[in-house]
Symmetry: C2
Subunit: 200 residues, 2 copies
């Protein structure tokens, strides 16, 4: 009994995400959003409530995409290989000289403060989802015998998350690509080696 939206939501979110990712939440204005998406203010406010609403929808959109990204690696390999492949895929993305936007979630986490409560909690949720996936993967590796029995998978997942945050920041700071690669590789090896089981 009503007119349906004329636009493709995920197409709009893709464009909005690119905009926010490049300029940040505060750095991208509603006019920029209008230009980037082709939607007029009225439509934007009718669909997302306000600018913060658009941003949170973008965070969700990005997070879902990231989830798909992780699942993509889960096909054929052992848990540890899946984990390693995902980790180094992020490393490569962070080391890419032509794209130094870092991680949309990490950027948002540092840009937004106590005043943007809804954003903060959304970011927190998405980041912890990623960390939980890492832990699940480590746990699976432990079950399968790729990691030693006494591996503290929760703590290890936190360490890996921290390491990833680290080179996400380095990526933004425009560090040398090889430096990022080297430091990420070394850190990964240092963190994982103590728990890895030698195949018999």
């Amino acid at each position: 009994m009503a007119r349906p939206p004329q636009f493709d939501r995920s197409e709009i979110l893709e464009k909005a995400t690119q905009l926010f990712w490049e300029h940040g939440y505060r750095g991208a204005s509603v006019s920029d959003l209008v230009k980037a998406t082709g939607l007029l203010p009225g439509s934007i406010y009718a669909s997302f409530g306000n600018k913060e609403g658009v941003f949170i929808a973008c965070l969700e959109y990005y997070s879902v995409k990231l989830e798909g990204n992780r699942e993509q690696f889960e096909r054929e390999s052992s848990p540890l290989t899946v984990l390693r492949n995902f980790f180094f895929a992020v490393v490569e993305q962070s080391a890419d000289g032509d794209d130094r936007r870092g991680c949309f979630l990490v950027n948002a986490s540092l840009e937004c403060g106590e005043s943007e409560t809804a954003i903060k909690s959304k970011v927190r949720g998405c980041l912890s989802q990623n960390e939980t996936w890492l832990r699940d993967q480590l746990e699976a590796a432990r079950q399968v015998g790729e990691l030693s029995e006494d591996t503290d998978t929760t703590k290890l997942a936190a360490c890996l998350t921290g390491a990833m945050f680290g080179f996400r920041v380095m990526s933004r700071a425009q560090e040398d690509s090889n430096k990022i690669r080297d430091m990420a590789t070394a850190t990964f090896e240092c963190l994982m080696t103590p728990w890895q089981q030698v195949a018999i």
Copy 2:
């Protein structure tokens, strides 16, 4: 032959830094700056050129303070102890539940993009200064025999820098204090242990 400034520059910078640290570069307006410092717009623009100039002066101010912070640890201990003490001082600051502002430099690094060129390069300079200090400290430790001869101190300094970025981000993301402490401790041990020499 002229009237001297009426304000104490470092007092102003202290207040401005606190403001920017809490709200970010874009999140703090010039009016906020006026309120926080007590200076009127004209004085601010006469002294710092523009808002970006104030921010860059704050980055410098913070960086110098950080340098003093590092030197404070250099008094009585061995290079490795100095390094460890500094590292865990930052950990404790990051884990402090009442102050989750993270690192002013890291925050600025993620908030500011390609449009704020001057800020980006200032941040880069300050961060690399810290990393260089870490490397020097590691190098001293190697010379003294606290670390093995074949320690790649440059790469290790990069790894430690990344680790610190990591828990700076976690601090902002409002993670549990003990989680931050645990992950930082574990990461530090993993990174350092392979190179540490056992005393004979």
